[in-house]
């Protein structure tokens, strides 16, 4: 690594850390600006002012906001994200517990989306203006048009209630967690729901990017050399066409996580998204902070890695 790049990397990492600090301050403030508080949820229907005051004191919510933030941030720096207001479990353990299902869901959806979108995009680009193109566009339109909560419920209706083929919700059945087939059966509908929504934009990007590449000189040269149509498209054109698609995949990460929030709620999928939704409704501040910090870190790190990777991959980019 040359020194210019090293300085740049150090700068970028420092900036990323500052960014996370900023995000945590903003999150903390916004979260606490929202009306209501956890005490109403913790007490339930038999609310009393006395019990509420007691809970606020126990949770440290009666202290000045700035002190609360400093307390939280200090502990977070030491790796302690606090305990859930609702259950008393350590936030880190709650998140760790939910990470697996979310990674499984989002990774599965991403693979599915790419696996379908890229071939469809290629087909639509190569056969531009034919029925394949229209069909591809229709699929894309379908994907972007329907919100995941609606799509999820429709898929459940079709596959569980009408055809009795797949279970409607959950990660697995009790006592069958170890069985791969049970887990896969439960994963089909949520993965499909989340994947379909991503599919649309990936397909459109593949199509337009490939169309552009196909018009370029080197493709014409390849064709002129007498290479077969398939070989030109798959070996020469697609590889270049996929570069912007890969960028889009990277950028789609927050969307994917956002989609997972809804999808996990519909399918009672015990992942990070549901943890976050529950925490927001219950004003479980430590959990809200923990989950959002995790998502922010993932996004910041992903951007950092992308930026650093650019200059490693592409020799034309240099930093001073």
């Amino acid at each position: 690594m040359d020194s210019g790049l090293r300085t740049y990397a150090v700068k970028r990492i420092g900036f990323a850390a500052l960014m996370l600090l900023g995000v945590s301050v903003i999150l903390f403030t916004i979260m606490r600006l929202a009306p209501g508080g956890p005490e109403a949820v913790l007490i339930g229907g038999e609310f009393s002012q006395e019990a509420a005051a007691q809970i606020r004191q126990r949770l440290g919510l009666d202290r000045p906001l700035a002190l609360q933030y400093l307390g939280w941030a200090g502990a977070a720096l030491r790796g302690d994200l606090g305990r859930s207001f609702k259950t008393g479990d350590p936030v880190a353990a709650l998140i760790l517990d939910r990470l697996g299902p979310t990674v499984q869901l989002t990774a599965g959806a991403l693979v599915l989306a790419l696996g379908v979108a890229v071939p469809l995009g290629v087909l639509a680009a190569v056969r531009r203006g034919t029925i394949w193109d229209t069909l591809g566009s229709a699929v894309a339109l379908f994907g972007v048009s329907f919100p995941s909560f609606w799509l999820g419920i429709m898929l459940i209706l079709l596959f569980s209630e009408v055809f009795h083929l797949l279970p409607p919700s959950g990660l697995s059945e009790y006592g069958r967690e170890g069985e791969l087939s049970a887990r896969l059966r439960h994963a089909v509908l949520p993965t499909l729901t989340l994947g379909l929504i991503q599919m649309a934009s990936f397909m459109r990007f593949t199509r337009s990017s490939l169309l552009e590449v196909l018009r370029q000189d080197y493709v014409r040269t390849a064709r002129a050399k007498g290479l077969g149509g398939g070989r030109v498209v798959w070996r020469h054109a697609l590889r270049n066409a996929l570069i912007p698609v890969v960028t889009v995949v990277g950028l789609s990460l927050p969307t994917l996580v956002g989609g997972a929030v809804l999808t996990e709620t519909v399918f009672a999928w015990p992942g990070i998204g549901r943890l976050a939704v529950g925490a927001v409704f219950e004003r479980d501040y430590p959990v809200i902070m923990g989950v959002n910090l995790l998502v922010a870190t993932v996004v910041v790190v992903a951007n950092l890695v992308t930026d650093l990777a650019y200059c490693v991959i592409d020799p034309r980019i240099s930093y001073r």
Binding site: P35, G36, A40, V41, L42, I43, G45, F47, D89, R185
Partner: protein, 541 residues
């Protein structure tokens, strides 16, 4: 083609076969919309926690379908002639889930914990009648039980426990029932902070089921307690699955993934009744939904205005349209199933003409925009309600429409629950529509909602009527049911005369279960049906 290949692959991997329900009759799967908070009955107070801790902990006494108490951990009891001493004989041979014997010390420990001001629990107020209550629960320098001249709870021997009261209380036995009064083990909790104890996540009780697993936000699994003092339950396992979406919950029931759900969308109930392998169970409830307002804000200070609002709203139609008939019209604080209910109290009938006349009498004149005005002020106010409760939401919309016809303008303000509750208790509202928990005994809630000493508590609408105060106090301080009944009848009449709210309805609890499960007892109180899980069995029919 690609789709076909993918589908073929999928089928090959997963081996698509129709879904089957888990071992019928052995695992009973209950669908819940949310997870429990705590499984310790001393500190658990929300609905989901009540449902989940109930099968794990037994209380001294339990309710029957007529809301009378019957023995559970207490075999029998004696009440002294002056009504101030209750002596309970405890069942022998009862064991905690960890095998240790259950004794009178556990009972004393449980209720001293409830009284301990360091413990966060709204149940404390229900024990107001206990001797030493003010000293033990004082915010500043609370006394310890040993420091009192008279022990409020005395362990006579391993199987006898005595409670001493400072005034005769008709509600004392009634507050000793689940889910608010499950007995917790002293040997595991002594010295622990009950608010945060690990026990609350891994509880040990004396109940018919033992906790096997709690995966937060996903499921709770309980296994039959072979040593249960009332005989081993017929079901091997209770599996509570957390499924937040009500539509998906319903689909899980139809697909066989769950065997029991509560509160399906009411518009679906007729269809569910037609489904051959499902059974709909209905239980009355003690909680009512009302349309209320701040009693101390004009123009609600004028009784003519309050009665006019009552006359302007057709409650039976709301019950029919919004609740699909699964509710009883409310005439006050007490449900028709309660012994304190007085059938002679009648609500103000739907009579738009009368409503208009009363408002005119109160000095309101129609304004240019159709809204009534008085002294240049339009009769317009906001009504806050919980945005997540569908029947409350629909009710609020209908009320808005009825009042518009009467010349009163209502702005609806749906709020999320934590915000709504906070505003409610801070008395930050003009009007509200809310469904509220209620106790099966009349005292705990009638007193805290309507007594004028409770403005900082549940009387957040700021109601005050000295005659009502007197009736409530008199009813509280007698152990004789006939006398209590008389005082509560007086209270109910006064309340309806004042028309402090439009009492709307007591919504019923609707449950759907798979046909073949028998033994449910729909006790007419909140979540009362869950008490009968120990008697539920699979008949296969």
């Amino acid at each position: 083609m690609i789709h076909a290949i993918l589908l073929a692959l999928l089928v090959a991997i997963i081996g698509l076969t129709p879904t089957t329900s888990p071992a019928a009759g052995k695992d009973f799967v209950i669908g819940l919309s949310g997870d429990a908070t705590s499984l310790n009955p001393v500190v658990a107070t929300d609905g989901q926690s009540y449902i989940a801790e109930w099968p794990l902990f037994d209380s001294l006494v339990e309710l029957d379908q007529g809301l009378n108490v019957k023995p559970l951990l207490a075999e029998s009891w004696e009440v002294s002639r002056d009504g101030l001493t209750y002596t309970f004989k405890l069942k022998r041979g009862v064991k905690w889930h960890d095998g240790k014997p259950f004794t009178a010390r556990d009972v004393a420990f449980t209720f001293y914990s409830v009284l301990d001001p360091k413990v966060t629990t709204p149940h404390r107020a229900y024990f107001d009648a206990l001797a030493g209550f003010p000293e033990l629960t004082a915010k500043e320098n609370p006394r310890r039980p040993e420091e009192l001249a008279v022990r409020p709870i005395e362990v006579v021997d391993d199987h006898t426990v005595r409670f001493r009261l400072r005034y005769p209380s008709g509600s004392f036995l009634a507050v000793l029932v689940n889910p608010r009064a499950g007995i917790v083990p002293e040997h595991l909790l002594r010295g622990a902070d009950l608010n945060t104890a690990e026990f609350n996540r891994r509880p040990i009780g004396t109940g018919p089921f033992k906790l096997a697993e709690w995966r937060r936000g996903e499921r709770l699994v309980m296994e039959a307690n072979d040593q249960y003092h009332g005989g081993r339950p017929a079901l091997d396992r209770l599996i509570f699955r957390i499924i937040p979406d009500s539509v998906v919950l319903l689909q899980e029931l139809r697909a066989g993934g769950v065997d029991f759900i509560e509160n399906p969308p009411l518009t679906e109930v007729a269809r569910l009744k037609q489904t051959p392998n499902l059974k709909v169970l209905v239980a009355d409830n003690t909680s009512y939904t009302y349309f209320g307002w701040r009693q101390d804000l004009a123009p609600f200070t004028d009784v003519r205005v309050r009665r006019a609002l009552y006359h302007a709203i057709d409650v039976p139609t709301i019950v029919r349209e919004v609740l699909q008939g699964y509710a009883a019209v409310s005439t006050g604080q007490f449900p028709p199933s309660s012994w304190a209910f007085d059938p002679s109290v009648k609500p103000y009938a739907y009579d738009p003409a009368r409503a208009k006349a009363l408002l005119a009498e109160a000095g309101f004149k129609p304004g240019s925009d159709g809204v009534l005005t008085r002294d240049g002020k339009r009769f317009s106010f906001s009504v806050r309600h919980d945005q997540a409760n569908q029947s409350v939401k629909d009710t609020a919309v209908i009320i808005q429409e009825y009042l518009k016809r009467a010349g009163v303008e209502v702005h609806l303000e749906p709020l999320d629950w934590p915000t709504f509750v906070k505003k409610l208790f801070a008395s930050e509202f003009e009007g509200i529509v809310v469904g509220w928990t209620n106790h099966h005994d009349p005292d705990p809630f009638a007193y805290t909602i309507w007594h004028s000493s409770q403005w900082k508590g549940r009387n957040f609408a700021h109601y005050k009527n000295t005659r009502v105060d007197e009736a409530l106090e008199a009813a509280r301080r007698t152990g004789v049911t006939a006398e209590r009944k008389k005082h509560y009848a007086e209270f109910s009449k006064l309340l309806m005369e004042d028309a402090p709210y439009v009492f709307l309805y007591f919504q019923q609890q609707v449950y759907v279960t798979r046909a073949g499960y028998e033994g449910f007892v729909p006790i007419p109180t909140f979540a009362g049906i869950y008490q009968s899980l120990k008697s539920v069995r699979w008949t296969g029919k």
